[in-house]
């Protein structure tokens, strides 16, 4: 149990982070997850006084939430080696698959905010860093009732089909966008979020490719929420619909106001890859948790008078579980490491210490948008540039994030099924967490995209 750290890159700083995250995970997150999982009605999970809020608050107190925010905004991004976020995700997944996703997603709008041309929006990042009361909770709202897989396939050529146009549309009127439509019940943190990374349809004729991205405060008039989703696994993770009726959203909140960005190009796939590589890390950690439970159980329980861990079929099963878990984790590490070490070299680390960097970035982006809208040549150049065939290494990377998610989640599920069998009849009892871990892992095969759909969407580059 436990494992030999094959990763030679993990030094003192990362070890401390790992230890910190593990302690928080096992002392706070794991027991909370077990408790929340037992609640019959998912509304109880998010009720006042629910242990969920303790998890959120204590997470902020550890400061681990700052990892995705640059130094310029009070975060710790850039001060830590590139593997930091991956190791954090592993430990949170180890503690509780559902809560790991909830905590991860809760930072998304604020991590995106730093790219905004608007100082007000950029400042969300700092507010988030300082919000130890967990009053700011983010979500990532993409999936829609009639468009689940469609959004995934949206990154491929197929996404240009107008029949796939988003249900949630944003129509520009003066300085505002008018939002109508809804996001599906699978939006994580959907009914508790205060801010959303929100994908909206700008040009319906372009299908999914015609969508842009808003950073949307969720307290605007016209926004309502569905009931929390009642589901098989990851029950501590709040999910639910967000409904928009004639919502007026000021244009300053539209982070990507041009359509065609999230399309059959490397941007969409890189986006998908980033989200999925986090899933890869989280569920390689979750897989490890099932393995460790099975090992502990096998070493402490007998079958027909013989220790389980001494029986040949159990030994074989355990070693094969071990093999899968190690391969999944090390693959996920390698994939994340490549991305982060390319994006967070010493220069960007230094640059991210200064707010001016982000001011300049925002300005540059805004100018680009203006040019893009006005000049065909800029638009065509952009499309060529973002074509996978001409893209750089980094841009080709997206499919690896997807491969990592597929590998880790399928490992987590298969390992949980095997562990379930090692527990035997005791697997049914709520005394042991393996039944829950199995349900949590099962959900991951669909979370962030049905695995087969992710594979189809990422196919082009191979």
């Amino acid at each position: 149990m436990g494992y030999l750290e094959l990763d030679v890159k993990i030094g003192r700083k990362l070890k401390a982070l790992q230890e910190n995250a593990r302690e928080f995970g096992m002392e706070v997150v794991r027991p909370a997850g077990v408790e929340l999982d037992r609640l019959h009605d998912p509304a109880e999970v998010i009720a006042e006084g629910s242990v969920l809020w303790d998890v959120f608050k204590q997470f902020r107190e550890t400061g681990l939430h700052k990892l995705m925010i640059p130094r310029a905004f009070g975060g710790t991004m850039g001060t830590m080696p590139s593997l930091a976020a991956t190791l954090l995700n592993e430990q949170m997944g180890y503690a509780d698959g559902g809560l790991a996703i909830s905590l991860l997603v809760s930072c998304m709008p604020f991590a995106f905010a730093i790219m905004s041309p608007e100082a007000e929006v950029r400042n969300w990042a700092r507010e988030y860093v300082e919000d130890t009361g967990a009053n700011m909770v983010g979500c990532w709202a993409i999936t829609e009732p009639e468009h689940g897989t469609d959004w995934i396939m949206g990154v491929s050529k197929a996404g240009s089909d107008p029949r796939l146009a988003p249900e949630l549309t944003a129509v520009k009127k003066g300085d505002e966008y008018i939002l109508n439509g809804q996001k599906a019940a699978w939006v994580s943190n959907g009914t508790i979020a205060t801010h959303a990374v929100l994908h909206v349809g700008l040009d319906q004729s372009m299908g999914i490719h015609g969508s842009g991205i808003a950073l949307c405060p969720l307290d605007l008039p016209g926004i309502s929420r569905g009931a929390p989703l009642n589901k098989l696994g990851q029950r501590p993770l709040n999910q639910g619909e967000i409904i928009f009726k004639d919502v007026k959203l000021h244009k300053k909140y539209m982070l990507i106001p041009i359509s065609g960005f999230f399309g059959a190009n490397t941007f969409g796939l890189t986006f998908l890859g980033m989200a999925n590589s986090s899933m890869g890390a989280t569920f390689s950690g979750q897989a490890q948790a099932s393995l460790d439970e099975a090992l502990t159980f096998a070493k402490n329980n007998t079958r027909e008078g013989l220790l389980l861990a001494e029986q040949e079929d159990v030994k074989l099963k355990l070693f094969r579980m071990f093999t899968r878990v190690e391969a999944a984790r090390l693959f996920s590490r390698k994939v994340s490491d490549h991305f982060f070490s390319k994006t967070s070299g010493p220069v960007s680390s230094l640059g991210s210490s200064f707010r001016a960097t982000f001011w300049m970035l925002g300005k540059a982006l805004q100018s680009y948008y203006n040019l893009y809208e006005k000049h065909d040549s800029v638009r065509n150049f952009s499309k060529r540039f973002m074509n996978p065939k001409k893209a750089s290494d980094l841009m080709e990377w997206g499919k690896y994030g997807v491969a990592s998610k597929i590998t880790a989640t399928e490992t987590a599920y298969d390992v949980a099924v095997d562990a379930f069998q090692i527990f035997g009849e005791k697997a049914l009892s709520s005394e042991y967490p393996i039944g829950k871990m199995l349900r949590d892992a099962r959900a991951s095969l669909i979370e962030d995209g049905v695995n087969d759909a992710l594979a189809m969407a990422s196919y082009e580059g191979i």
Binding site: W186, L232, V417, Q421, G424, L438, R442, A443
Partner: protein, 404 residues
């Protein structure tokens, strides 16, 4: 669905009956199963006003509790094997937990019907006539004595039953505890095996029917399980429970062994049928959904990868159904020489397939596959539970390999 039903089933009379059964499973069992599954406290499942009782009564209204009991005792034993199998398969298709509960209720009375004891025969007659569910059976699996496989000693290991019986004149005094018994909390009669205890020594074993209203019988609280939540399970405790010897069905090791062997193969076959039914249910749901759900501008069924996935599911489900049919046919022709290996294989393959197919079906449903509003997540939990039901699959497989 347009795929053909390729069962050979010629009995016209039973076809009419199957139509009734089909209606019962679709209109009563399945919806009740969905409601009962939602109850957070398993004690609510067996409550007085629970839907459970409607299901049980509807089952008996169709005389399905009389299956495999001779006519002269009020039963319906002339059912052909295919009809009997189709009934169980439909029940598994509707709700595996309820199906297992109802079959478990019948079993003690089916066994008692083989006895010559007038007392037991009367109990069987009463059961056949009871459509109000005043009588409910339960039973405890009995270990078949295994020759220790592959070893050179060749010794029989001695039987182990958690219940001991001390003979006292014309009565037996029972002590012991049986865990995870289906129907335990609601049952009125239990079929159990025990070891005789004479002056502190155990010698030989027996099988008896025990009325559960006797002094000294108590039950544990209903188990809270991940799946098959519609199936009541609990512990039964015997504390100096006295039964007359007339309640014994067997009192000889070899007879007990024979009975255990038959019960074991029969139960495995029944589970094989029920989970073939559950697998078919998962497949049917996935196929229907794939033809209705629009993504990429058309039904997802139109995609070649989805067709491939569904066809593979179809091939496997049909194979598991065929497997149960072959064994059921054999068992009906050879009631006294059961194939233990094939029984175990039927349970093993059907439950593994149930898990795989319900998991694949969830993938076809996407996010909806996980949501409680849709049927699949329950089917998946029911299937998952079967992996460790009536013996953990791997353990059973390893034991059963000794018959190869």
């Amino acid at each position: 669905m347009t795929y053909l039903d390729i069962d050979i089933h010629k009995n016209k009379e039973s076809k009419a009956m199957l139509k009734e059964v089909d209606k019962f499973t679709r209109e009563v069992m399945r919806p009740a199963g969905i409601e009962l599954d939602k109850l957070s406290d398993p004690a609510d499942v067996i409550e007085e006003n629970s839907l459970l009782w409607e299901v049980l009564k509807a089952f008996r209204a169709l005389d399905l509790h009389q299956i495999d009991i001779p006519k002269d005792l009020g039963g319906m034993s002339d059912l052909d094997w295919m009809t009997s199998l189709l009934i169980k398969e439909r029940m598994g298709h509707a709700d595996a937990g309820l199906a297992i509960g109802m079959m478990a209720s019948n079993l003690p009375f089916q066994c008692a019907a083989t006895s010559k004891s007038p007392v037991l025969q009367q109990i069987v007659r009463d059961y056949c006539e009871d459509r109000e569910c005043r009588m409910i059976g339960c039973w405890a699996p009995m270990e078949v004595v295994q020759k220790s496989g592959g070893s050179t000693t060749g010794n029989n290991s001695s039987r182990k039953s958690p219940v001991k019986a001390v003979p006292n004149k014309n009565r037996l005094i029972l002590n012991g505890e049986l865990i995870k018994i289906s129907n335990a909390t609601i049952a009125t009669h239990a079929l159990i095996s025990f070891e005789f205890e004479v002056s502190g020594q155990t010698e030989g074993s027996g099988v008896a029917m025990v009325p559960l209203d006797l002094p000294g019988v108590s039950r544990g609280t209903p188990l809270n399980k991940i799946g098959q939540r519609t199936l009541n399970q609990a512990t039964i405790i015997f504390q100096n429970v006295e039964i007359p010897v007339e309640y014994m069905l067997a009192k000889d090791d070899s007879v007990v062994n024979e009975m255990s062997r038959l019960l074991n193969v029969g139960t495995n076959l029944n589970l094989g049928i029920v989970f073939a039914g559950l697998s078919l249910a998962a497949f049917d749901e996935a196929l229907n959904y794939s033809k209705m759900r629009i993504q990429g501008g058309g039904p997802i069924f139109s995609h070649r990868n989805i067709k491939l996935q569904l066809f593979k599911m179809f091939a496997m489900v049909e194979s598991v159904r065929a497997n149960a049919r072959r064994l059921a046919n054999y068992a009906s022709e050879n009631p006294n020489s059961p194939s233990e290996a094939h029984g175990a294989a039927a349970k093993y393959l059907a439950t593994e397939t149930a898990i795989n197919i319900s998991s694949e079906a969830i993938q076809i449903f996407g996010g909806n596959g996980l949501a409680k509003e849709y049927p699949l997540e329950k089917i998946f939990r029911d299937a998952q539970t079967s992996l460790v039901e009536y013996g953990v699959n791997d353990v059973m497989a390893i034991k059963s390999a000794n018959h190869l």
